[in-house]
């Protein structure tokens, strides 16, 4: 995992209280299928990510595709972190 993915993994454990063994979490794990994140969970995840990386994710990018896996979200974060 790259640095952004590792930070996202920590957010899942520390802020969203996902009950998973941190060492078992993979970048390809899906938020919905593997972590059971629901609609309100996604809103919280977006807020936590925006705070942690000091970025703003526009509503149009708050999509199931961008928020599919740790890897896909890390790509989105990387894109906004570069432009911030």
């Amino acid at each position: 995992m790259n640095e952004i993915e590792l930070r996202l993994r920590d957010i899942l454990i520390d802020d969203l209280f996902v009950e998973r063994d941190i060492e078992q979490i993979q970048a390809s794990d899906t938020f919905r299928g593997d972590f059971g994140i629901d609609s309100l969970g996604f809103v919280e995840l977006k807020t936590q990510v925006e705070t942690a990386f000091a970025i703003t994710i526009p509503d149009d990018d708050f999509t199931p595709e961008n928020f599919a896996t740790i890897a896909s979200l890390a790509q989105l974060v990387g894109r906004f972190a570069k432009t911030a």
Partner: protein, 451 residues
């Protein structure tokens, strides 16, 4: 087997073709059915289904019915402690969910069915009948109670809704609401299975632009949303592609907002609905597009075949709404289901205060004090109190909605000492779903308790 159960189960292969989603993995119905058959669970055994919104969710739900077991849909975000509590309270014989989640339950064996793990619990006797369906009630974290429906009661409600909303086999329905809620599961999904149309399942997360894109791209004709989503669409001025039918239900929706939505050129028919899990769920509907403006503040009139009564109305005509419907649940089960919610003459007590005018229109006045709506989700404050009171330092808790829709929990220490409120918050975050965690926790002195 009932006629409705037969139709759903025997047409499962056809239903499989009529349900679409955007998942990369799509197991076949026959494989899922075989997976549940191999578990060898006794008929009437309840299976907790904690899966995200997807076509696969519905295939599991049907397959569980087909092998004579009883599906109980639950949020995929449930914590292990909540699942264990539900298992005990509802006599759950197996849990189906994300493989990592089922591994955390430490059961002797885990089967793989589709993309889910299924963890059977040994020595749980069947507590239900084949073709029963369990639906969790509001406050699922602490209440651990559920309504026992049958496929027939739910199917009656779904087909009544289809008829009222004029749904046909030509319709394509978009599901953006959770399938563990009755609206997404019964009204939309069962309704489409029985009505012959097609179902497209999406999300989360919800995004208004994607919502519009999907309606256009997938040629959606019918959709149901919550008042929270409807208000978001209005606030953002979202312009949607043309939609034949939009239904709104699950909470109060203001008359002004009904008028504002009706003024949008892209909605042909707008339906405001009212219901509750115990009733299967829909009770009444207001076809706002064909109704006079002076009833926009109502939830319409009861479905055909549904009787209503206002219990003990006050001088303003306000009283508890009682309902007699063919889709009422058989009974409520679970540790905290204090008695059955029926009158001696078979009316269901809704717990909601209503008026009914001479033309039969029902107007919602207030909700039971212990139910609040937060971020679009209903929650039971008594359930939250029970979880808070599980903390060893807390003797008593009272949760209520505060100013600006804040959720505030007042807590009293067991021995009068100063409480570590940060530690209590962490305790709650690990046991409650996110929207159930109070915004503020305030310690109260014993003197306040006695006031």
């Amino acid at each position: 087997m009932s006629v409705f159960a037969q139709r759903i189960i025997e047409n499962a292969a056809d239903i499989d073709r009529r349900i679409a989603d955007f998942s990369e993995f799509r197991p076949r119905y026959c494989d899922i059915l075989e997976g549940y058959s191999r578990l060898d669970l006794k008929p009437g055994s309840a299976i907790l289904l904690c899966a995200p919104n997807s076509a696969e969710f519905l295939l599991h739900w049907i397959a569980i019915l087909a092998v004579g077991c009883v599906p109980c849909a639950a949020p995929p975000s449930l914590k292990a402690a909540q699942i264990v509590a539900l298992q005990a309270s509802l006599n759950i014989a197996a849990v189906a969910g994300a493989p990592a989640m089922t591994r955390a339950l430490n059961t002797p064996r885990i089967a793989t069915v589709g993309s889910l793990g299924v963890a059977p619990t040994d020595n749980v006797a069947p507590a239900y009948e084949p073709y029963d369906v369990l639906i969790l009630t509001t406050g699922t974290s602490g209440a651990q109670s559920a309504c026992v429906h049958t496929v027939d009661t739910l199917a009656w409600n779904a087909t009544s809704t289809n008829r009222t909303l004029s749904l046909t086999d030509k319709d394509r329905q978009l599901v953006v609401l959770p399938l563990f809620h009755t609206y997404g599961l019964v009204t939309q999904s069962l309704g489409t299975m029985l009505g012959g149309g097609e179902l497209i399942i999406d999300g989360p997360p919800f995004n208004d632009r994607r919502f519009g894109d999907l309606i256009e791209r997938e040629k959606i004709s019918v959709c149901g949303i919550t008042p929270t989503i409807a208000r978001t669409l209005l606030e953002k001025g979202t312009r949607l592609p043309n939609l034949r039918s939009l239904s709104i239900g699950g909470d109060r929706f203001a008359a002004d907002d009904v008028a504002r939505l009706l003024a949008k050129p892209f909605i042909d028919e707008l339906y405001i609905t009212y219901g509750l899990t115990e009733a299967g769920p829909r009770i009444s509907v207001l076809p706002a597009h064909s109704a006079p403006a002076d009833v926009f503040d109502s939830v319409g009139r009861p479905f055909d075949g549904v009787e209503v009564r206002i219990e003990g109305p006050d001088p303003d005509g306000v009283g508890q709404l009682l309902v007699k419907t063919p889709s009422a649940c058989r009974r409520k089960v679970g540790e905290n289901s204090s008695g059955q919610p029926f009158t001696a003459d078979g009316f269901l007590k809704t717990g909601d205060m209503f008026t009914q005018d001479r033309d039969g229109y029902l107007r919602y006045v207030s909700r039971r004090a212990d139910i609040v709506v937060r971020k679009g989700e209903k929650l039971n404050t008594r359930s939250i109190d029970k979880i808070i009171e599980m903390h060893p330092d807390i003797g008593f808790a009272r949760t209520a909605e505060g100013a600006e829709s804040e959720l505030v929990s007042r807590v009293w220490a067991r021995d009068g000492k100063e409480l570590d409120l940060d530690a209590i918050r962490l305790f709650l975050k690990s046991r409650l779903r996110r929207h159930e965690v109070p915004d503020r926790i305030v310690q109260q002195s014993r003197e306040v308790f006695h006031k």
